[in-house]
Symmetry: C2
């Protein structure tokens, strides 16, 4: 039988319930802090809900806060030296974004909501000087960093090479891993798919249309779709 974490005992505090649910979803990033820290955090963190296509922070902006994604999908993007936009990876429920703020560094990418999102905004000064902070927290943070690096590698290897059809198929696979429990996936705008895969809007559109005709994909609305996992797997295997 698991003991109730200290910060769940103060249920009267309005922020407590938010953090509780957050704890469930994000793997207890701050569940290891001592009660005093938790009380301080409860009073200072914000949990903004943002509409889709809202910029959370810009690349190069001084990093003042780190965020947990409680719901929705966030994209990280950058501008090429040539001025074109590239999406580097996506973050979903439970992911930590803007960690570089904890190092007093400017944000490395621009972060934009792809869907309506619910965040947890934690001012970086609250986490304090990381050296003095609790060891389990820093360990967890490093785990997050490694996870992000792994993700970046996966995107780089799987989504930037091969023919257009394969790239789109692999992206659909990734999107299904970010899906909520409804089984529906978020469908990016064609321009965003292009920026993720290094393709043009037209090519992305052609591939999606083709897959829809083949029954791999069924559109529910402009931004929602359902996949046929078997058909997807078969199409991927067919090379």
């Amino acid at each position: 039988m698991k003991a109730v974490p200290p910060y769940l005992q103060s249920e009267n505090h309005p922020q407590a319930r938010v953090c509780a649910s957050c704890e469930v979803r994000s793997g207890a990033l701050f569940g290891v802090l001592d009660p005093n820290s938790i009380v301080r955090i409860h009073t200072d963190i914000d949990d903004p809900s943002l509409p889709a296509e809202t910029r959370i922070y810009a690349r190069g902006e001084p990093g003042t806060a780190v965020y947990t994604v409680r719901a929705g999908i966030v994209r990280f993007q950058r501008l090429t030296a040539g001025g074109q936009r590239r999406i580097v990876r996506l973050a979903g429920r439970g992911d930590l974004i803007g960690q570089e703020a904890l190092l007093q560094q400017p944000y490395a990418d621009e972060a934009v909501s792809c869907t309506p999102v619910q965040l947890c905004r934690i001012p970086s000064h609250l986490v304090g000087h990381l050296g003095q902070a609790d060891g389990t927290l820093t360990h967890e943070l490093m785990r997050r960093w490694q996870q992000a690096l792994e993700q970046a590698g996966l995107w780089a290897t799987e989504l930037t090479s091969g023919v257009a059809r394969q790239r789109v198929l692999k992206l659909l696979g990734e999107l299904s891993r970010l899906a909520d429990e409804s089984g529906e996936i978020w469908m990016p705008r064609r321009e965003d798919m292009g920026a993720m895969l290094g393709l043009t809007v037209e090519t992305a559109s052609r591939m999606v249309s083709q897959l829809r005709r083949e029954g791999v994909l069924k559109s529910l609305s402009q931004r929602r779709a359902v996949l046929d996992p078997d058909a997807l797997a078969r199409a991927l295997a067919a090379g």
Copy 2:
């Protein structure tokens, strides 16, 4: 006037001098540990020199050690689901590789030496449980993680989109940043260039030959070349 770090005082120990030079080059990753830790480390670390094209570790292999690159160039690569090799990024002098070992995780990528390399092999158990370790060390480690993530993003944005000529030019720019003080750069095998840029061997070769004819590049040997920085900049700007 800077005080002599503790581990430099035991100059009689053979490993001490290696670490001293390592400290200079890698930004004092372990310069912050207390003297006792340093002594322990001196006795247990290894500083292997490996020829080119040697695998340092494999993807998925249990991570038992972290390495500092003291000299040479290391590539991180992975296999696509389709079985083709992709190079995700490069590491050079002063970079830390295989950090995931510190989290008791398997290595995320395969690491292979591109040139003869000198490494510093630090068994992960020496760094101990990161939570209990010195705060400055964990802070420095997190900085390294962020640096790797930034690099990965740069590779993803700059080297995987645009026409082949531009990609090769940008790669040359990156290689010049990894160059030693001689002003010569390491020229990858064409197959490796392809794996870095998502191009075929032939296309990579054509682009290099073209740039050589234009005077952007001059080959000294199979694996060494010198760049004309101005010509490179002009070619990049010409779009």
